[in-house]
Structures are given as C-alpha cells and as structure tokens.
Symmetry: C2
C-alpha cells in the first residue's frame, strides 16, 4: 500500500478548498460551527445569516467531491426565541438548489445530552447527520458497519472499546472474507439510520464536538482503504485522526490556530 497522507491545513476552507482538484475527495465528514455557538472562538454565525454563510462552502465542496462520493453534515438547530430555528431546513433546500441531492438523514442519539430543565422543553438529545450526494449512485460498503445481532444500542455501541474494534477488524480482514455471506446472515445484522453514541466526556485532555465512533462509522461505510476523507471544519482533529487510524488519506482544514495546533498534535500523537 502506498504511504498515506494526513494533511492538516491552517486556513479558511473557501480559500483552501480552491487549491484542491475537482472530483478528488471520496467522503466529506464535518461538523461546522453551529449558529451562535462557540462565539468566543469562531465569532458566532448569526442564525438568520447561517445559510448565506454556508453557501460558498457548499459550492466548493460540491466541486471537490468525486462523482460517487458522499458528504455527511453533522448539525443541529438552536432554540431561538422559544422556537427551533429553521436554518437547517433552509440549508437543506439551499443545498439542493446548488445541485446536491439530499439522500438521507441519519439521527445521532446522544445518550448523554446536556442536562437542564426548562418550563416548556426537555433536554435535546439528538443531532442530524445529513447525507448529501452528487449522484443517485454512490459508494457504500454496507457490510463494513454491520453489527452483532441483537440490540445495536445494548451491544456494540454502548462501549465501543478497542477490544471490540480489533475483534471486528479481524473478522472482516480474515479469510472469512470469502464466505462473508455465511456468517453475515447468522451473526451480523445491518444497522439502521439511528446511531446511539455518547458524546465524549470533558475530562479528557481535549474534548471534541463528536466522539471518534461517529466519523469512524461513516468512514467505514462510505470509503475504502486508501480513499480520501475531507473535513473542512476540522476543529480538534477527530476526523483526521480516525481517518489515519483506518488507513484513509485525509485533508483537514481549520481556521483557528489553537484548534489547528491541537489537531496536528492529535494526529502525530497517534
């Protein structure tokens, strides 16, 4: 296998994406700054301006993605003035006007959501994982994310330890591959479009917006080894780190120097 590249770039994605060739990326997985959040670091995009802010990124991402590639966007709308704001709905409509297909919407059920109590709402315990594509046909390795029979939540995802990972990898990578269908139908089942994962806990050295399980699931599903994964809002580098671990090339772009530094360390520390 040729040497893999894990490229971490400091800069704004609109500019940096222009340097990438068209049709060169297999999977885009990212979680852009949410409206009005991370105000101190990212400046806080206003909810009403969110779609306009995102559009140029959406356009460049459409250009760099391969024809059979996939774009997975992790996002959730805030409550503004007692209502869920509509910028995510409008974003989906705007993306379609741009030429993207809205193929699917996965739900990330966050088992440990932020606590709190309010007079007229409960804790928000889920986020959207919106799947966009350029064409109806795209690469999808469904068997790569199969799960042991039984409840998805109770078995694998409750505690996805390293032991679990190596065990699964050995199964997939071993000589059983020739007769996958044999054990496939007996021991494993296809997952659904609802993912149960805990957010990472704060007492780790650096907390990320999403747990490693999340990009891992989509990287396995939508790419092969040696493919190219892109995260245009890299943050602390989770996507790049996971891509590297799974033997995928990756490009991560981050505008803030402090996050960029964390991401670089996170990847090298591996």
């Amino acid at each position: 296998m040729p040497k893999l590249k894990t490229n971490i770039v400091l800069g704004d994605s609109i500019k940096e994406l222009k340097k990438l060739p068209a049709n060169s990326v297999d999977l885009i997985f990212t979680s852009p700054p949410y409206a009005d959040s991370r105000v101190k670091t990212y400046g806080g995009i206003k909810a009403d301006k969110y779609v306009d802010w995102f559009k140029p990124y959406g356009k460049e991402l459409l250009r760099v993605l391969k024809e059979d590639g996939t774009f997975v966007l992790n996002i959730k709308e805030k409550v503004v003035d007692g209502e869920r704001h509509t910028y995510v709905l409008e974003l989906i409509l705007a993306m379609r006007e741009m030429g993207w297909l809205w193929t699917e919407e996965y739900i990330w059920h966050k088992r440990n959501s932020f606590p709190g109590k309010w007079p007229n709402r409960f804790r928000d315990s889920w986020e959207r994982l919106i799947q966009f594509n350029k064409n109806k046909r795209f690469k999808m390795n469904q068997q790569a994310v199969m799960v042991p029979m039984g409840d998805w939540a109770n078995t694998r995802l409750k505690n996805l330890s390293k032991k679990d990972l190596t065990r699964d990898e050995s199964k997939v990578g071993s000589g059983f591959g020739k007769k996958i269908s044999n054990w496939l139908n007996k021991d494993m089942a296809y997952p659904t479009n609802v993912l149960h994962m805990a957010t990472e806990c704060g007492n780790k050295s650096h907390s990320a917006a999403f747990p490693e399980n999340l990009p891992e699931w989509f990287i396995r599903l939508f790419t092969d080894e040696g493919d190219v994964v892109l995260d245009p809002f890299l943050g602390s580098g989770t996507t790049s780190k996971v891509a590297q671990r799974l033997n995928r090339n990756s490009i991560g772009i981050e505008i803030l120097p402090e996050y960029y530094e964390i991401a670089v360390k996170s990847v090298k520390g591996k």
Copy 2:
C-alpha cells in the same frame, strides 16, 4: 367528574373541523396520510402537492386549538427518486407562515423497524414528531412522563457525603453550583426529546400507524384529565382509544368508512 365524550366522526376534517368552536381543543395528535402512501385508500397525495394539500387543515387546526394547546404531527418524508423528499421541511416552513410556532422536534426511534435492504440506504428506523404551538407558553406536565433514572443515580445517590449535603459553593469561574441533596429520594429523571418505542406487532387485524404508547406519552404530557384531544386523521382509532383510557375527551375524524368502522369498534370495545 363529568361524563367523558369520545366522539368519532365520519367525514373530511376540513368540513368537520369548521363545526368545532375556536379555541376548544387542548391537544391535536395525528399522523396524516403520508405522501404517496395508502394510495388505494386515501388516493395518494402526491409528494409535490403535499404542502398545498395540508395547508387548509393546518389553518382550521390553528383555529380550533386553545391558546395554550399543542399540535403534535407524526410524519416522515418518503424517498422519491433516490432522495428524501423535502415536503416535510417545506411543511414546517409553511406552518410558520400560517402563524404556527415550531417549538420542538421529537424523534420516535422505532426499535423494531420494518426489515429490508437496499443498495444505498439502511432501514428507516425513525420518524419525526413535530411540535407546533400557538404561543410560547403552553400547558406541559413534565412530571407525568418522567422515567426511571439510570445506574448513575443508584450508585451516586446511595451514599451522600457530608459535602454533598450542604450546598457546594460555585468554584472559581467554571464550577457548577451543585445541590446534590435535592436529588435525594429521586429515582426518576426527566426524559429527553428522543422516544424509544417499538412499532406494534403485525398480528393485529388492522395495523395502526403508531403504537398506543406514542399518543399516550403526548396526551399525558400536554393534557390533564377532562381535556380535549383531537385527531383529524384518526385512521384505526388509536388516539381516541388512548384518550378514552386516560380519561380525556376526544374527537376523532376519519374520512374512510372502513377505518371509521374500525375506530368505532376499537373505542366501544374498551
């Protein structure tokens, strides 16, 4: 307590709703015919016409709902030509233009979703429960749907240290002020906006769109005993049946005679 009314009506909701007084309903819970589904029975509303088809219903429902009432809409977009259709997103935007507030979106995670396999998507395992209101303030009985606490409480609350018994003063800058003694004797916690419920088994004579647990949860949450629950697309009568069991008055409207008959029997059978 005055005698409860469980009113099942045969007819089209647009016409029948006009007979109801304004501001008379506490909760609307319904699952309208989805686009292109139930083609033989409902005539199959085309996805592209769905919003226009729904609007007049949305308008009448807005009129009959009390000022502190709630409208919960169970819906999920179909796949059309390889994409998720956007009629649900557009419906939310249209409802807001009509004067509804989009307060929240709950997820119904269907634990046993319909089996199946497709080349480019997994089983669809969730539906939307979209909450609309007329005002920011509405009736909500949060304690009525509390759930048992997780393991954490069992371990943590068993032995309260002396420190926990007195208020833990806010630590410098970042610490949460804790009042752990508040949690003493609490074995229940508030739920989140993700509901895990199995679909009903198919061994019933007529399959309902949703299990009884689903309307039950929202009826408990948004109404008191003696309140009025409305389902303008009653189907086989689940909403009315549950409302009756929970001592709520109810109005159920169904346009198809065969479903109407089933609903009437379902309620009388109680």
